[in-house]
Amino acid sequence: MPQMTDERVLSRLREEDLSLLHEVSMKTAGVSRLEMCIQCGTCGGSCPSAMDMEHTPRMLFAMLRAGMRDEALRSNTPWICVSCYHCVVRCPQEVHIADVMYTLKSMAIKAKLYRDDIAPHFSQTFVDMVETYGRSFEFGLASRHYLRHFPLRMPGMMPMGFGMITKGRMGITPKKIRRMDQLKAILNRASQLELTL
Amino acid sequence: MAVDTKYKDVEAMEDGSILLTLFNGGIRNDENEHIANLLRRKSKILIAFGSCACEGCIPGLANLSPVGDIVHTAFNTLTTDNPHEIYPRASFDVPEGELHIPKLAPILSPLDAVVDVDYFMPGCPPESHQIAAVVDLVVKVVKGEAELPPKGAAIGVGDSTVCDECPRARNVKLIKEFKRIQDIAPVDPTLCLLEQGIPCNGPATISGCNARCPGAGAQCIGCYGPAAGVLDYGARLLTAFASVIDAKEPAEIEKILDGIPDPVGQFYRFSLSGSLLKANQEAWKVKYTSSHHTKGE
């Protein structure tokens, strides 16, 4: 039989009969090849932050295969992923693991299934900055983020923050791009679109 | 023999009263078609004479463009002073009555697409000694001294290709690049031109011209058309050229093929209209679908 690549699998499916595995695969940028996982554990073995993950990526993929939607989306695993791509280049089946993690994050946000809101809020804060200024604004980001989630960490961070500011490494006023209107129009349109089969 | 005279004179002749017609030119408009039908009726032997009647020749290259574009090019370009954008019309009322000019067909067809042709005599132009030989043959046939070749044959040609008559020396061919003849200095006067990387059509072109062009130092451009039994001149030549490219990598092959700047001109200069390609697909579709419709109804 011909090799079943992700693209072929997708081309045979209709939107309404997507399994969880296929749904994740479809929502992932590029051709995820998630269906090809052979559970060898290269990803979990490679992961530098595996020690803090509730499930190794491999286990997460098995859960997707088993249709365990809530458990999978509730897992802290995608949020601990540091996008180092060790697993991606080592995966013998060329599964686009890091991109699948991004997909799981966005699905978890949509379903409000994350247990720990630090990471989603950080991402959202970052995105808010970008959507307001077109550039990232580290000072605003850091201060908002720490105030909300790590008030106790703030004092410890102070010398570092002062260091950054006195060394000219952190501006305290945001930079804004010129054609913010254009960017907003693009993002508005984009937010109405979804990847399809 | 009927030469350059009024149509009504020909129309008045008895059917089959002309022994031999050498029909020159392809079928581009309804007048051409009318004359072709007329002469077919009046002639015992109808010969498609010259490349235009045989394969469409240079005018056949117009099949690459829709009729509208052709008319536009002819009547409204820099070389034509037509400030009021006046285009020819099929009929026009003048005080003396209604005037007609021939109506353009969607594509140019070779003669045998319109009428039954007895023989084909290719060449642009056919060589004089070949014309003499053909007339001679017909005279001999009338006298009962010779027999006509089988119907549909190409006459006034040899049995092989231009290479057969070409005096140049040849070896096994492997080509690293194609070059235009003016870009090579000096061209080896005794060696096969194709081997020197000049895209010479000699290998695919039927003999009969005494290899005039390659003999004189210019590459064959294929005016005599394909050898007997070859379905499509351009396709034959293309596979031949493709076979001698000395490269394995697709990028390298592409680069070598880039040395042929005008592929249509190279492979179908004389034979586009008669080719399997049915050039100008749009026009072809019109023809095809309309015939289809009539069939359905």
Binding site: Q39, C40, G41, G45, R90, E94 | S160, P226, S243, K295
Partner: protein, 666 residues
Amino acid sequence: MSQEKIGVYVCHCGTNIAGVVDVEHVAKWAAEKLGGQGVVVARDYKFMCSSLGQELIEKDIKELGLTRVVVAACSPHLHEKTFRIAAKNAGLNPYLVELASIREQVSWVHTDKAVATEKSKAVVAGAVARVIENKPLEEIKVPINPNTLVVGGGIAGIQAALEIANAGFHVYLVEREPSIGGHMAQFDKTFPTLDCSACILTPRMVEAGTHPNITLMTWSEVVNVAGYVGNFNVTIKKKARFVKEELCTGCGICEEKCPKKVVDDVFEAGLGYRKAVYTPFAQAVPKFPVMDKANCTYFIKGTCKACEKFCPTGAIDFNQEDQLINVDVGNIILATGYDLFDARRVSNYGYGRLPNVFTSIEFERLCNAAGLTNGNIVLRDGKTAPKSVGIIHCVGSRDKNFNNYCSVICCMQGLKFAHLVHERTGATVYNFYIDMRTAYKAYDEFYQRVLEEGTLFVRGKVAEVTDAARYENEKGKLIIQVEDTLIGKQRRIPVDMVILSIGLQPRRDAKEVGKLFGISCSTDGWFTEKHPKLDPVATMTEGIYIAGCAQGPKDIPSSVAQGAAASARVLDKILQKEVALEPVKASINADKCSGCRICNGLCPFNAISYIADDNVSNINPALCQGCGTCVAACPAGAISGTGFSDEQIMAQIDGLLMRNLEVAGV
């Protein structure tokens, strides 16, 4: 309106075709709509290739007087021959049968039943139009030369050569290295019975070396192959040994006296030394040494000649040159073996960077009593015995980044290594595997034994081997980082030694060798067999057979079995005394040929020559394989190929486009 009486037979192929194509409808349609083309009967049947299916066709040929047959079934590759024989049995010329592939080209590549059925009709219409233009052809019979060439002197080649020689026929056994024996000669023990590899191999090597029916040609390579089945002419380059074989007694004094020592990266896999004049190992066959010109002091500096001085029989000859030898053979067996995966490509395993990471072949030499360490398992420092060893499976195999396929032997090899480490060092052994593959006789029992011995197994593909210690207990060790997939946790296991079970790869020059012998390679690079199940040692080129790892990764028992199988096929050919050649050939119409010579260089079988006197090219029908390259290339249309004429092809295209039906007014 055709004069022919054509029968159309549509095969269900179980559900292979019928699952996607409405075969009954196709047959009915052909009977109704293709009558104008001469179709007088159209039937469908569950398995057309079965004897009942064939009888159906034979019966129709006899009773209805069919003059042409179209079978809509699988690719001609598979069953064209079957149906041609059936036609022949019924008295119809076998070349008046056409296959329409509605399996490979329709049912296997489409999912929409309606579309697939329509396409099947078109394919059938094309085949009907084509078969009308088919001409009856007669097979050509040629005698078979009883001699055989075996290329490659590993265990598969040795086995094949011995079988044929024992049957009384002559064999030329050609080996590229100085000695026969192949990879098997490098191993210490063989799984699962742990026989000493040399002990079971060397008797076979000696037998091959002394057999009266075997001409052994080592340090030699095939450089040209001409001819065809039954009548090959092969040119073999016998590389200069710089040792006269007729005088050499194999006493070994030259090797002993040679002052130049180099790393042996062939037999010793880089883990040992040899001299510039050497036999690769003690039991080498033949016993004559070879001189390595690139490293010989005399060839480099012009002085030395120690070997010559001490040779008691005057066998050293510095003026020897490569020789080209021509032999005529009827059949050829390729048993060219495999190369090993280069472990440096998996940079996360650190081979070549971290000293105590070894490859499996290095470990074999380490274990081997004849190796550099006399069989002591030690670290790269040459003295320390490891206290813990990690064996990593699937290195370079089952991995889209390297080789897709499973290398078959690594699991058992890994288990064997675990046993040897236990036996000789008492070290803790870890085996890291994705799936444990211990199929075949007594293999799983061996797995049980190794489990009993206390080997620790970790199910997980190792992510990396590193010397970057995170904790005190890791310092100075190699750390194997892996997800233990059975507990779902990442583990870091510090060990002293890592052994990489590296995969098997096609020979680096397999493509060129394949081209030399006119056979093809799969996408992975292994030689392609004629049929993966039913004809595993034959190739698409008649008279060329393959055996051993050249065909794909396999262990010793399978290699031996294939060597024997290939020899059985060759003996079958030899005993038939003559062979029928396919009559599909190209020929040149000399009248139309202008001698342009475009075709001359194209023929892959060197069958076309140029006759200068007549200024035309000519095809030798015995050499022509009917591939059609020249037919397509001839710009004058002077070359035609039987079985693939322009008329046949144009008719088939017209048929596919159903133009013939339009003409017929359907």
